[in-house]
Amino acid sequence: MSYLKTILAGTAAIAIGTAAMAQDTKVIGVSIPAATHGWAGGMNFHAQEAIERLEEVYPDLDFVLATASDAVKQVNDIEDMVATRNISALVVLPFESDPITPPVQSVANSGVWVTVVDRGLSIPGIEDLYVAGDNPGFGTVSGEFMRSQMPDGGKIVVLRGIPTTIDNERVAGFEAAIEGSGIEIVGMEHGNWNRDDSFNVMQDFLSKYDQIDAVWASDDDMAVGVLAAIEAADRQDVKFVLGGAGMKEMVKRVMDGDAMIPADVTYPPSMIATAIELTAVGMTSTAPVSGTFTIGSVLVTPDNAAQFYYPDSPF
């Protein structure tokens, strides 16, 4: 419900705002993919929360938020923002890098501040600020954790996401980290960051292999499906499942010391909030904020889990 209200209120505020104080107010456009899966849902939540908070802190700033369910819609959103809202800055989390690059480039050329989040553009140097997630690092941290848990090696299966660069970088990082450790990846399939798909894939892995020591689910949504499949098959050989991203239910289980979920690896959807906030600072002060800001992937363990637990977030 608050979703709709925010957007309505935001739109109304902008309408009034542009009429009354067109000179003083700067508008920041935020363009992100729609909440079609868990991580994106969390990212949407953090974007809205950041906007609400920052609108109070900075009365001179207005925000326009648009969510797109595909790359074409996102291009349209960005064009609309420039044409009708006269934005001073654009915060964009590209749906896909290639199609979004040209329109963002033309926005940057017209003198608008551009902040790119998570997925980089295809041509470097367009953006003023790049708030990046660390996908190879995500894989590396996950791989190193596996290594530490299985010093004598073992057999694992891997569930991959939707075939994309992100997924490839993560898997490459993971494979590099476990190289030479004696850990063997016996099976690898796409679970598409989807609970149902990963449930089916894991069921089939369990039928196919008599011995699986651990699972790298690589994502918390997929971990949910994997856990359900293991539980249903009542298989004792699987010692633990490592997800990723930092879904609150999973962080909670780490915090509670669940043996099946000994850890999680962050890929925080809140990076969008960081990006919006840094952009707001750039718009309202002279503090230098340009450059690249990498948000590393951190291993969540029972010791530090409390810091990563956001009970109010939908993710």
């Binding site: 608050s2 979703y3 709709l4 729609a34 909440a35 079609t36 899966h37 868990g38 994106a40 849902g41 969390g42 949407n44 939540f45 991959r160 075939p163 099976g187 690898m188 399939e189 796409h190 960051w193 989807n194 609970r195 149902d196 449930f199 089916n200 894939v201 069921q203 089939d204 892995f205 369990l206 039928s207 196919k208 949504d221 949910v224 499906g225 359900a228 249903a232 098959a233 239910e249 977030s313 939908p314 993710f315």
Partner: protein, 316 residues
């Protein structure tokens, strides 16, 4: 109409599966495949009637997600008053069935009473239900209370004599559907309506009511499928049931039902569903092809199954 095509395709798949992996024919794997086929299968049985009567429903996947979301919300909300127990599960099931019937009636009303193209109506409701569940979940995931889920879980995972409930429900739906389609007046009326609605009208068949009933029945079956689906993972989100509508339609067509209506067979639909599930299963169980090509393999087999049907038809 050819009987052989889809059965042949299914047999070939089973032989390939058994040859490639020893566990393929294990009770566990068979149980897995049949259980997960049950959702699409139950929906596809309803879809068979809709398509036979000359209609189409693209909204079933979104509808399933929406119904799952409604079930979870209502059950979580009722938890403080009802507590964990059978009444709350029954309440959830009732919500699913009522929501399914209501959603089917809405589609049916727009299509039969207002006379709007089925494709457009259900494309519209598909978007509506998908958005509604995203909105209900605030963009995230709706999860059933943990204790409730534990209590409800057996509805997916347990069964009688080692046969899980989804398989049993699926089998019952199929048997009733097959009888209704091939032996009952309703099935005959569906086929007549889809074959030529003017002839049906001049033959005293109530065309509007027949179509309406097919959509209501499909909605009800989506509700039944959701009842089986929710206990599996205990959650619903915007990604629940994505593309189920296309899988259900594909299964119906592979099974020999005519897409433009007029002829349908429920048992064929079952074969179609099994073919689709087995392709995924076999690809997971073996390392034959790059996982990137899974979709292509599926596409080739769907088209092949339909060609086999066509060839046999031309000969017979």
């Amino acid at each position: 109409m050819s009987v052989l095509g889809p059965i042949l395709a299914l047999v070939i798949l089973i032989v390939i599966g058994a040859a490639l992996n020893g566990n393929f024919l294990s009770a566990g794997n068979i149980n897995n495949v049949l259980s997960r086929s049950a959702f699409i299968g139950i929906i596809a049985v309803g879809m068979t009637f809709v398509i036979t009567a000359g209609g189409l429903d693209l909204s079933v996947g979104s509808m399933a997600a929406f119904i799952a979301g409604m079930m979870i919300l209502v059950m979580n909300a009722a938890l403080p008053t009802l507590g964990v127990g059978i009444p709350i599960i029954l309440l959830g099931m009732l919500v699913a069935l009522i929501a399914g019937i209501a959603a089917g009636m809405l589609n049916g009303f727009l299509i039969t009473t207002l006379g709007i193209e089925a494709f457009i109506v259900t494309l519209g409701t598909m978007g509506i239900y998908r958005s509604l569940v995203t909105w209900l979940a605030n963009g995230g995931t709706l999860s059933l209370d943990f204790d409730l889920r534990t209590f409800y879980r057996p509805v997916y995972f347990d069964g009688i004599l080692g046969v899980s409930w989804p398989i049993i429900v699926f089998a019952v739906v199929v048997i009733l559907g097959e009888i209704l389609m091939s032996r009952a007046r309703f099935g005959r009326h569906c086929a007549a309506t889809g074959s030529n609605e003017h002839v049906a009208h001049y033959s005293s068949v109530n065309v509007g009511r027949t179509r309406m009933l097919t959509y209501i029945m499909l909605g009800l079956l989506v509700g039944v499928a959701t009842i089986m689906y929710v206990p599996r993972l205990g959650s619903a989100s915007a990604s629940t049931g994505v593309l189920w509508e296309l899988e259900a339609i594909a299964a119906v067509i592979i099974g020999g039902t005519v897409l433009k209506g007029g002829f349908g067979r429920v048992w064929g639909t079952v074969i179609g569903v099994l073919i689709l599930s087995l392709i995924d299963n076999i690809l997971n169980l073996t390392d034959l092809v790059s996982p990137y090509l899974n979709g292509a393999i599926q596409g080739v087999i769907i088209v092949l199954a339909v060609i086999l049907q066509r060839e046999a038809k031309a000969k017979g």
